[in-house]
Amino acid sequence: MSVWDLLSDHTVRVVLLGCTMTGAVSGALGCFAYLRRQSLVGDVVSHSALLGIVLAFWIVYGVTGQGNRSLMVLMPGAFVAGLASLLLTRRIQRGTRLKEDAGLGVMLAIFFGTGMMILRYLQRASPPIPGRAGLDHYLFGMAGAMTRADLWMIAAVGSAVLIAMILTWSRLKIITFDQQYAAGLGLSVNGLEVLLLTLIVLGIVIGLQIVGVVLMISLLVAPAAAARQWTHSLGVMVWLAGFIGGVSGAIGGLVSAIGPSLPTGPIIVLNVTAIVALSMALAPKRGLVSKWRRRKVIHVD
């Protein structure tokens, strides 16, 4: 089957568009997490989201008697659980002697552990819950499971997140670079923090169906790490990371569509890791090759 045959296939087009958009949104937002040294935050959000996903599924089943795996149902659950884990971490950090990383670790364990437990229960409950098959795809991602309605959901939430990022650009930039100074200017740092965290959480939850909760962190942080090697401007970095994320997502979606039983998450991770490795090696100024050559020049002199 040639690439053109693939592209004319309706399902493949849906998968491809969804993966590209997801990669672009999380790549762009990941820059802020990366520069704030909060990469771990992304991991906690995505793992914690599993609890929200299975709870949302369970509740809807309880109400309607029918399991529903559409993003329309599961995404709000994922969002609430992801954001809750972060806000609880902040509370723990302020109210106790636990440091941020310990608080994040505790939250990840509680949310993900409980999520796994409920997931297993739902899968084994008898009589079987209709529609439960494929719920475990949220662990490692399955782009092929995406429906047209899911694609619309991803497109709507993704573009809302990007528009909000562009509109509040100056403020997001200043709280990422120098929070104390921003507070001194009288900007509401707390409000802006919650806004940025909300955008990051939304950027994560739209990708969970495709990449899965376990590996979502790579689509958030790796494009930012790669883009950082090539540029010294935050604006360029965000667009470039969005582009890298989009391309990685697209390739991952395509490969997973060709080999139908491959989970999408690991394929995307391999793509994006290759781009990071290339960037770290080849980028001008920051790249290893350029550093090595400069050292050689100095040596000759």
Binding site: D178, Y181, G184, L185, G186, H232
Partner: protein, 264 residues
Amino acid sequence: MNDIDVASSDIAIQSRHLTVTYGERPVLWNIDIAIPRKGITGIIGPNGAGKSTLIKAMLGIVPIASGTVAMCDRNGRTLSGDAIGYVPQRSTVDWDFPTSVFDVVMMGTYGKLRWFQRPGKSERVATQRALEFVEMQDFATRQISELSGGQQQRVFLARAFVQKPSIYLMDEPFAGVDTKTERSLLEIFRKLRDDGSTVVMVHHDLLRAHDYFDHVILLNRRLIAQGPTKRTLTESNVETCYGVSHHMLTTSVDVDRDFHTAAV
């Protein structure tokens, strides 16, 4: 000991019974200070005395447990937020952040920007002027990761200058810069003072404090003394503040500096 004998309109910053705690632990205890509008005021004290916390409490960055602090302009109007030029310690930011000197200085205009607004032409002009004021105009497009310590300090100063504040609050502006840079920074601070701005800075060593400051505040969790430098920076006040004699301190710092110079 609190011999502030100026009329209240000449006071730029005043605190009453100011107490700040981190958790349960008090960091500043019952501080009553009055900082004159004219001149350069040094906030001096040993490590952990709460000097940085004091200016952060003035700015509202750390919460006040009890008491009040007020900053006023010449006409007695209360100042806050972007009317105060805050120059944080250089070490509080990541200098590898992907941005240029011009962009960092322009952040000084963000306090006046509305939500969704981006800096425009007037903000760019003001930024250019601030860069010229600190003589960094040739570095405008430079990456901030390529700057020396002194240049970083100038950039932070320019960022505060853009705000056109009447009060500058600076946290250890001389930390980690060489003697030559220290001199030229001091020139800039004096220019600000002579143009009518109130300049307040946290300073950690006593060396040259007599030359630098018109007024000093000696602080060690509590207020030890405040007032004109000559009258306030006395042997006995310094001993109370640091717990050792002034002579011993300046000599040991001198020896330290000589050692560093020799090592370089």
